[in-house]
């Protein structure tokens, strides 16, 4: 169909559909049905049900009692929830900054399709294919304060002051897990960046070189602006990933010590399945959905406005 045809139909009453077109419509609807059903069953229904439970005091066993917005009010007064939200923001911020910066840096250095680059890309991507619980176990071992290789090494070279209680200190643990998360996913984001950077026309760099631009100026004026759409994807994905880092946190510390490494998803799990406060956990998960949506929208807005 072309524009002229479309314009000619404006204002005219729609032509009645032929039998064949109606049959086609039915087939098309039927083809979408499995996907719609799966979505409705596994996403829509649980989400609506979750909303319903968030307004109750359900403990997972007994009849749920309607409590209105009490669970949401409780969240505002819950010091642990506030602390955990703060943890999550700090965790996300650290991961976002370092993971984005490092993945971009690695992508720039490994952009060429040389043998070494290909080998290093594979090497950096490797952690991504390991299961998160395995990663957690490996790093738990590395971080062990007395027998762990990291502290043993630091002590052996005289850097005792750097040999910290990595997973047992309320001030250090969250950052140690954030480091592991960065190690775990930088390779994955690097691949996304490489795909994005390979789309930048070589002529732009050639023109910049002719104009005498330094490497830094080329990065600032060509690479960074052209990589912004990729950066938006990387940042949105990293943000969501950081909010969903349940397995890593849970397997490494269970949120301890003293909730200092707990993030919202671990708190939701513990509230529901450890403390059996399913209604409150449902309210927390609704907060999480809204928070991530708002944060992602904000990121997109900032990136779009600025460039």
């Amino acid at each position: 169909m072309n524009k002229t045809e479309t314009g000619a139909r404006k204002g005219a009453s729609p032509r009645p559909k032929t039998k064949l077109a109606r049959a086609n419509d039915r087939v098309l609807i039927l083809m979408t049905l499995p996907a719609v059903l799966i979505y409705a069953l596994f996403y829509l229904y649980p989400t609506i049900n979750n909303l319903r439970y968030s307004l109750t005091n359900w403990d997972g066993f007994q009849e749920a009692k309607f409590v209105g917005v009490d669970n949401f009010n409780r969240m505002t007064e819950d010091g642990v929830f506030t602390k955990v939200l703060g943890n999550n923001i700090e965790f996300t911020f650290l991961v976002l900054i370092f993971q984005t910066a490092l993945s971009l840096l690695f992508a720039i250095f490994l952009l060429q399709n040389s043998r070494i680059s290909t080998f290093l890309r594979t090497l950096y991507f490797f952690p991504t294919i390991i299961s998160s619980v395995s990663v957690a176990m490996v790093w738990q071992f590395l971080y062990e304060p007395n027998l762990g290789p990291l502290n043993v090494f630091l002590n052996s070279i005289g850097l005792d002051f750097l040999a910290l209680n990595w997973l047992g200190s309320e001030t250090v643990t969250l950052r140690a897990i954030a480091f592991t998360q960065v190690w775990f996913h930088t390779g994955q984001m690097m691949v996304v960046y490489i795909a994005g950077l390979q789309q930048i026309p070589a002529e732009l760099y050639e023109a910049a070189e002719v104009d005498g631009a330094s490497r830094w100026q080329q990065f600032k004026s060509v690479t960074w602006p052209m990589a912004l759409p990729t950066t938006a994807v990387v940042m949105a994905y990293t943000t969501i990933q950081s909010f969903r880092a349940f397995d890593l946190v849970f397997a490494m510390t269970g949120g301890g010590p003293n909730n200092s490494s707990s993030i919202i998803v671990t708190m939701i799990y513990l509230t529901a399945f450890n403390e059996f406060r399913f209604g409150y956990a449902a309210a927390q998960s609704i907060f999480l959905i809204i928070f991530i949506l708002a944060l992602t929208a904000l990121q997109r807005r900032i990136l779009r406005t600025k460039y």
């Binding site: 929830f81 062990e144 997973l167 010590p257 509230t271």
Partner: protein
């Protein structure tokens, strides 16, 4: 029962296996008091084991120690035989993946003896089972036999009418050690049968204690002295694993056991904290927490204690760097896996946090799981489950399970052949209390107060740790 063993083994058996020293009732009349069973009765509470013919060393009316025949079960009768099961199939829900092989064999034997019966094990990991296992089992008519954790999970299942009452079953009256049934009781009814029995008391390295010429501490000041001595000798006195709350929290059992003059008082104090009526800054709790600080200051714990993982703690003990592992008898299997030479080299001792060597309790006992029959299962399924439970509660089957799983059981007429089970059976002659940690039914509260105690070991002041913990607890009640 025919018993054939060396003199040493016999002495070991004599020294061990008396679970009911606190509540056991000597049977008057009909039995000849003063039997010696080939050995002199010298230690009060010592028993000949968990057999239905057991003797206990007790004072008679003249104040002399004599062997007295006791009843360990709720009946004078001999243990009952297993029931016959009708044809059909059921599911057995539990989280004990490590027991699968033993249960497979037991089930195969049971199925062979009961043609037309099929029992399938449905095993989740413990975290999933704790989280959703019970909810799934309760709506499954085939899930006729299931297990629960002691404490909150058992309590929830009991309050939601999930259990079939087993109070009047013959196996409840005749096959199990009566004093070990507390964890399965609710409002005067026996709703579940605690099967595996464990002892949440410190495990010690026999060889190191012998080599260094140390005596086992019997009161709190001796524990402090032990820590200082062991540390000075280059050891980590206790392989406490503060990075893993579940194990770090084991010593709270010993810490709590003598904090009140009666069980009822302790229960009411715990309930007050559990429901938010009282804060953990209260005097009795603070007094207990201060002892954590004393242990910390005496160097009892490893360096960076709050970051020590379970694997690292076990490694410290298994490699002989720490003479004591403050967890419980359930850790022994893992230690032997790590270091086979540790087999036969582990003893168990109670941890008395008072200065009174005659304190009410000197040790802890607990149950890993409680067997129950699902009230919502079909009638035939319930009958099969009941028959299988009665089979599990017979001496030979329980003996097979105990020696293979390397755990003690609550069943009568069990003969322990495993050296580590024998060595640690001695704890049964202590004055044991059911692990008071599980009196806290609100797990959010329990986690928070244990976090506070862990923080104290990590160096936080008692006042700050308790006030921080109290603030967290407020959000959990």
């Amino acid at each position: 029962m025919k018993v054939s063993m060396s003199a040493k083994a016999f002495r070991l058996l004599l020294a061990g296996a008396f679970a009911a020293s606190v509540t056991v009732l000597p049977i008057s009349g009909g039995f000849a008091a003063g039997e010696t069973l080939g050995a002199k009765c010298t230690n009060e509470g010592e028993s000949t084991g968990t057999f239905s013919t057991s003797l206990v060393c007790a004072k008679n009316s003249a104040g002399r120690l004599v062997w007295t025949k006791v009843k360990l079960s709720a009946s004078n009768l001999k243990p009952a035989s297993a029931l016959r099961a009708p044809r059909g199939s059921i599911e057995f829900w539990h989280w004990r993946a490590e027991d699968k092989a033993w249960f497979d064999k037991i089930i195969a034997d049971f199925e062979a003896a009961n043609p037309g019966v099929k029992i399938s094990q449905v095993i989740s990991n413990s975290v999933d089972y704790q989280a959703t296992g019970i909810q799934k089992a309760r709506t499954n008519k085939k899930a006729a036999l299931f297990t629960t954790f002691r404490g909150a999970q058992f309590n929830t299942a009991a309050t939601t009418d999930f259990y079939t009452d087993l109070t009047n079953e013959q196996f409840t009256k005749r096959n199990v050690i009566k004093s070990m049934m507390g964890a399965g009781q609710y409002q005067g009814k026996q709703l579940g049968i605690p099967y595996q029995s464990l002892f949440n008391n410190p495990i010690y390295n026999i060889e190191i204690f012998k080599k260094e010429g140390w005596k086992l501490p019997k009161k709190f000041s001796e524990w402090i002295s032990y820590c200082k001595t062991a540390k000075a000798a280059g050891y980590t006195p206790m392989a406490w694993m503060g990075g893993f709350r579940a194990q770090a929290g084991q010593i709270i059992n010993s810490a709590l056991m003598n904090t009140a003059s009666t069980d009822a008082l302790l229960a009411s104090r715990v309930a007050a904290i559990d429901t938010g009526k009282e804060a953990i800054t209260t005097a009795w709790f603070k007094e207990m927490a201060e002892k954590y600080a004393e242990l910390r200051d005496a160097g009892c714990f490893p360096a960076n204690p709050t970051g020590v993982t379970e694997a690292a703690g076990n490694a410290l003990f298994a490699t002989g760097k720490a003479p004591i592992l403050p967890t419980g008898s359930f850790s022994m299997g893992g230690i032997v896996t790590l270091e086979p030479k540790m087999s036969g080299n582990m003893g168990i001792t109670g941890m008395n946090w008072t200065e009174d060597v005659n304190a009410r309790y000197t040790g802890i006992t607990n149950n890993t799981f409680i067997l129950g029959i699902n009230k919502n299962a079909g009638t035939t399924e319930q009958r099969i489950a009941r028959a299988f439970m009665s089979y599990l509660l017979t001496g030979p089957v329980a003996t097979y399970y105990a020696n293979n799983s390397k755990q003690h059981v609550t069943v009568l007429d069990v003969s322990y052949t495993d050296v580590n089970l024998r060595n640690t059976s001695s704890i049964m002659s202590e004055r044991l209390v059911l692990a008071p940690r599980f009196l806290f039914l609100n797990i959010g509260v329990r986690d928070a107060l244990e976090d506070a105690l862990i923080a104290i070991v990590g160096g936080t002041s008692v006042d700050k740790a308790l006030s921080d913990g109290a603030a967290v607890i407020k959000t959990k009640v």
